[in-house]
Amino acid sequence: MQPETPQYAIETRDLSIFYGAFEAVKGVNLNIEKGKITAIIGPSGCGKSTLLRAFNRMNDFVPTSRVKGEILLHGVNLYGKEIDPVEVRRRLGMVFQKPNPFPKSIYENIAWGARINGFRGNMDELVEESLRGAALWDEVKDKLKQSAYALSGGQQQRLCIARTIAIQPEIILMDEPASALDPISTLRIEELMQELKKNYTILIVTHNMQQAARVSDYTAMMMLYEDTRSGTVIEFDKTDVIFTRPTDKRTEDYVTGRFG
């Protein structure tokens, strides 16, 4: 049987990210497969968030930040001169470490993003569908007009996921989305990710090895260069390969907890 050529949702070419003169991330080449979950793991400070935020150009808001190399979406460089970061962010949704709902009602949290992006259609339906998609509908369907701040942390995080899927991105970026949550809420988010995989490509940063092993199809292992303190991807493969028979000794040490 001929192996299917994988479709890539997004690719990086010799990607380096700088903060001023400091090269935080260096020489990253990743091909993220479409419809899969890719986990990014690595010790603290190795540039996981930096890399993730480069994908949807959130680093544009750090005045000192600079990017070398390319990030390709359907072959188009997201850092090309004519590219509009607003459109980029509309196609690459992001869920943050700490739940950050808007100080508005649950309904408005979802409707707002849709509205500014020019949504044409039935808003009530979209809200319901998104909430269902984020496995939150049953819990909040009677209090859509209440403040999102009245929800629990886990619910708030699912609301943030719901508002992200409401704008129908192609890729969802998640930066430690469950690190501020209790084990039950974490489990629900993980189940949700498996659901979302059917429609979206997901990139997730996590510190939790079990989580990476449980939810992801691919894993990228990041590590710091000893001398320059720049982070880079040292190994990228199917998750079971990374966790059972990694080629790099450092990866093995890290995933088995013998690191440092």
Binding site: D84, V86, E87, R90, I116, N117, G118, F119, R120, G121, L126, E129, G133, I167, Q168
Partner: protein, 410 residues
């Protein structure tokens, strides 16, 4: 989920561009608010400059040539003295002599007296700066027609003499000497009261006070005092310093007899209370900014709380406290309403010599001259504003200088 409910490709691009355009329009709207602020500030400053310089049309009641053969400007002090004796009535001369001995007065003073009392200059009309610059011909023609005997002269109302001569009932001879000295007295007294009390209160609140009901009240109260209208402080000063404590503020208990409670001391104390909340809040900010590690280091080697505060916290906070105090001084220099209430004198030509003197102050002069109907008083009001603004500028420049200077040492 319906797939294509969002604008796609070309549609999307147009949509995003439209949103950017909206943002751009609003950016201009927001920017225009700042432009209005800049315009207002420029208009205000130009308006003041406009008033402080310009053409003056004046006439002499007495031809100078009939008073003295040599041009007045070349006369010496004794010659001027003789002329004054000759031309003034006896009563007027002795009265002037009583105010301050005529022989001891400077040449310039006597010269002004001669012009004011003997030659008797009369201002027919004044023109503002921009009129004077732009329509000089029109002005000349008008003057030649309406006031054929008058002299037309371009004049700066702000002159060195304006700073050194006392008040006068005639605009052309008036100066801000007494007002300037009054303002300095006021600020000195206000700072003497507000600085120690303010810094002490700030230290208490930042370094000693635990979270308690009473400390909470103190803090809230200070924030509120900062928002009390200045005129209310004036009423407080009137009732307490001017009236209730008259024996003290008039200097009666120190043997001063010719005074009531409306002294520079009363006004200074009122101003001190007015700026106290400002001093406290600024000092609190400065103390807050001192890193905790400094305190912990001091406690760690066995220092008491006061030793920690006195030797470590206060020196580090000093630049901030000083800057804040100078800002409070600027406030005291510019405040007018409380001085009116406490009773700044409307007319005073004697320098304030002690805390128990009657006084006037720069902003009071600005107010009174602005309120006059004659245009020449508006001109000297503008000149006084320039002096006031220069004083404020000096204070603020000092604050910035001190801050930069002291910060380097840490």
């Amino acid at each position: 989920m319906a797939k294509y409910t969002y604008p796609q490709s070309q549609d999307l691009q147009n949509f995003v561009n439209a949103r950017y355009r909206t943002a751009w329009v609003w950016q201009l709207v927001f920017l225009s608010a700042l432009l209005i602020a800049i315009l207002s500030l420029s208009a205000l400053l130009l308006n003041v400059a406009d008033g402080a310089f310009g053409y003056v049309v004046y006439e002499f009641k007495k031809d100078p040539a009939t008073v003295s053969e040599t041009p007045l400007a070349e006369l010496t002090q004794p010659q001027l003295l003789a002329l004054l004796q000759e031309n003034l009535s006896k009563g007027a001369y002795t009265k002037l002599d009583k105010e301050s001995p005529m022989e001891k007065r400077s040449r310039d003073e006597l010269y002004n007296l001669l012009i004011e009392r003997v030659i008797q200059i009369k201002i027919e009309k004044t023109y503002n700066l921009f009129d004077s610059l732009l329509h000089a011909d029109v002005i000349r023609a008008e003057v030649a027609e309406k006031y054929p005997d008058a002299t037309l002269e371009f004049r700066s109302w702000l002159t060195p003499a304006f700073l050194t001569t006392p008040m006068s009932s005639k605009a052309e001879f008036a100066g801000v000497r007494t007002a300037l000295l009054g303002s300095l007295w006021l600020v000195a007294i206000a700072v003497a009261l507000a600085l120690p009390v303010g810094v002490g209160a700030a230290i208490y609140l930042q370094e000693y006070a635990r979270k308690s009901f009473i400390n909470n009240i103190i803090q809230t109260n200070i924030n509120n005092l900062a928002g009390v209208p200045s005129i209310v402080y004036g009423m407080l000063g009137l009732a307490i310093f001017v009236r209730a404590m008259e024996a003290f503020t008039s200097g009666a208990i120190f043997g001063v007899t010719d005074s009531n409670g409306r002294t520079v001391l009363s006004a200074g104390l009122t101003m001190g209370i007015l700026v106290l909340p400002l001093v406290i809040i600024n000092a609190q900010e400065a103390i807050k900014a001192v890193p905790d590690s400094i305190r912990q280091a001091a406690f760690g080697v066995g220092a008491t709380r006061w030793q920690t505060v006195w030797h470590h916290v206060l020196p580090s906070a000093m630049p901030g406290i000083l800057t804040g105090s100078i800002l409070a001084m600027s406030r005291a220099v510019g405040e007018t309403a409380p001085l009116i209430i406490v009773g700044a004198s409307t007319f005073i030509s004697i320098d304030p010599a002690s805390p128990f003197s009657k006084f006037t102050a720069l902003p009071i002069q600005v107010y009174q001259w602005t309120a006059r109907a004659q245009a020449e008083f508006h001109n000297i009001a503008a000149a006084a504003i320039l002096v006031l603004l220069a004083l404020l500028l000096t204070l603020n420049a000092t604050a910035i200088f001190l801050r930069n200077r002291l910060q380097k040492r840490f």
